[in-house]
Subunit: 289 residues, 2 copies
């Protein structure tokens, strides 16, 4: 019987070690900027994208070690996006995982620069691997104006309005989905996956990414502040229309479940160790209850 909790703990420890090595704690110049980067990197994040990356490498028969630096890069990218999203000019959030957001703790200029530095570090870590060019291309396409940054733009632009379902799906896909499926594909690339294996990982990632965001929306409606570590109902307070608000919590849960079933089904054919990928998909939807 596969033990997901143990798996996640071990993999998180491995990623932590790489991240800690990459962002110095030893006063290396400029020390305060590096401290700011570490403050956000080591803030109890679930490391979901790194886990998907490593589990994807394993699912196509690769080993974990070559995927570690890529996993760390994905966490740098994700952390940058959270730091910038929290800024006063953006979502203006004071809390992140129960602690003051970076700009609250280190000031706005340092938060902008720490985010910029983490975004850049993500590419540095990828570039410094055997498949550097291909991995950088994957990440850049997922993160730029046609991906994560564009999704955040449209998310902000949709506030106060009434986006339709098509627009909501596009925001989710760009803001969350593309990085999640890129995480899976990049794990596959490191493990030298075939093109049809990469397709399977990509489809797995797209389903899981959409489920992930739906569950986040559900939690924003149903959770209490202690569990969520941020202001509850903040989406509603900002009149941000979410999928769960649009179709209702029950229908959203059921949609997330069928997406996860589809994802699990899609990776069954892979010849490596697929238990971690399957368990991670189910873990996503379990958070919704």
């Amino acid at each position: 019987m596969f033990d997901l909790t143990q798996y996640m703990e071990e993999r998180r420890r491995q990623v932590h070690a790489v991240l800690s090595r990459c962002v110095p704690d030893d006063g290396e110049h400029p020390a305060i900027l590096h401290q700011a980067m570490r403050y956000s990197l080591f803030n109890g994040g679930k490391r979901f994208r790194p886990l998907l990356c490593m589990a994807s490498a394993e699912a196509v028969g690769g080993s974990v070690e070559p995927a570690l630096q890529v996993a760390a890069a994905l966490e740098c990218l994700h952390t940058y996006s959270l730091i910038h999203d929290d800024l006063p000019a953006m979502d203006d959030d004071d809390l992140r995982r129960g602690r003051p957001t970076l700009h609250k703790q280190f000031g706005e200029a340092n938060a902008i620069l720490a985010g910029d530095s983490l975004l850049t570090l993500a590419f540095e870590l990828l570039a410094d691997t055997p498949h550097g060019g291909r991995l950088c291309l994957e990440l850049a396409r997922a993160a730029g104006s046609r991906g994560l940054a564009g999704g955040q733009f449209e998310d902000l632009a949709s506030e106060g309005g009434t986006p339709d379902r098509e627009q909501l799906v596009r925001i989710h896909t760009n803001k969350t989905g593309k990085l999640i499926s890129a995480s899976c594909r990049m794990g596959g690339i490191v493990a030298q996956a075939t093109s049809s294996d990469l397709d399977a990982l990509d489809e797995y990632g797209r389903s899981v990414g959409l489920a992930f965001q739906i569950v986040d929306d559900i939690l924003n409606i149903t959770s209490d502040a202690d569990t969520l570590g941020k202001s509850v109902g903040s989406d509603a307070a900002r009149e941000k229309v979410t999928y769960a608000a649009l179709v209702g919590v029950e229908a959203a849960r059921s949609e997330a479940e069928s997406l996860v079933d589809k994802a699990v089904d899609r990776v069954t054919q892979l010849h490596g160790t697929t238990d971690p990928l399957k368990a991670l998909a189910r873990y996503v939807v379990e958070r919704a209850y």
Copy 2:
């Protein structure tokens, strides 16, 4: 006799064409974000880093075409850094090259996201070339917490204080110098330069980069607002100590000149067309008069 003006015009046109293709003008989604990126990209910039990149490729015997996309990436990176430096939380500038800064024109959130998107696009353009991994590594090292972003951090941190000469050189090196020497090296890499040619380009770039920043400081002291397109004496107003203020305008000019002589001398040995590189170095110091 080499005609630098004509050379610059032609090369700028070529870079413009690549940039215009990469950031769509056709309403591609999200259109406003792409408009914001273009607003800053096409703002009459000198394209100094792209010019250095292309001239470096030519200096080691390569042709210009393969360097064009790399040159465009360098301009994206540079433009991102200007956009973020201008933000209210950073240098808080209202004008850039005589026009409203991006956050004044498109709002702060869009300026942050346009900067993020241009930083990401820089890596996308590099990754999508034959030497993608190596080029991304060069750029990331020049742009991250140990380069441009770290230099901007220390520049902000030094305001109101009295940094010594060592600290000033480090700020210049990180904030400006590393990207300029990376521009030269990256042009060399595209043209398959030998390792000793890359060393020559690197040293050329380091001297020119330092001269460039010294001249900028001189202009900040001596220029009028029309010429500079931004508030004059803004460094002094912010009590930002610059090299020129520390040693005086005359001594600063003479230092810039000897740096440029050194740069020109260093690339004389290269076997390609070195006239453009030499003329670009001299162009840097001519601005100081």
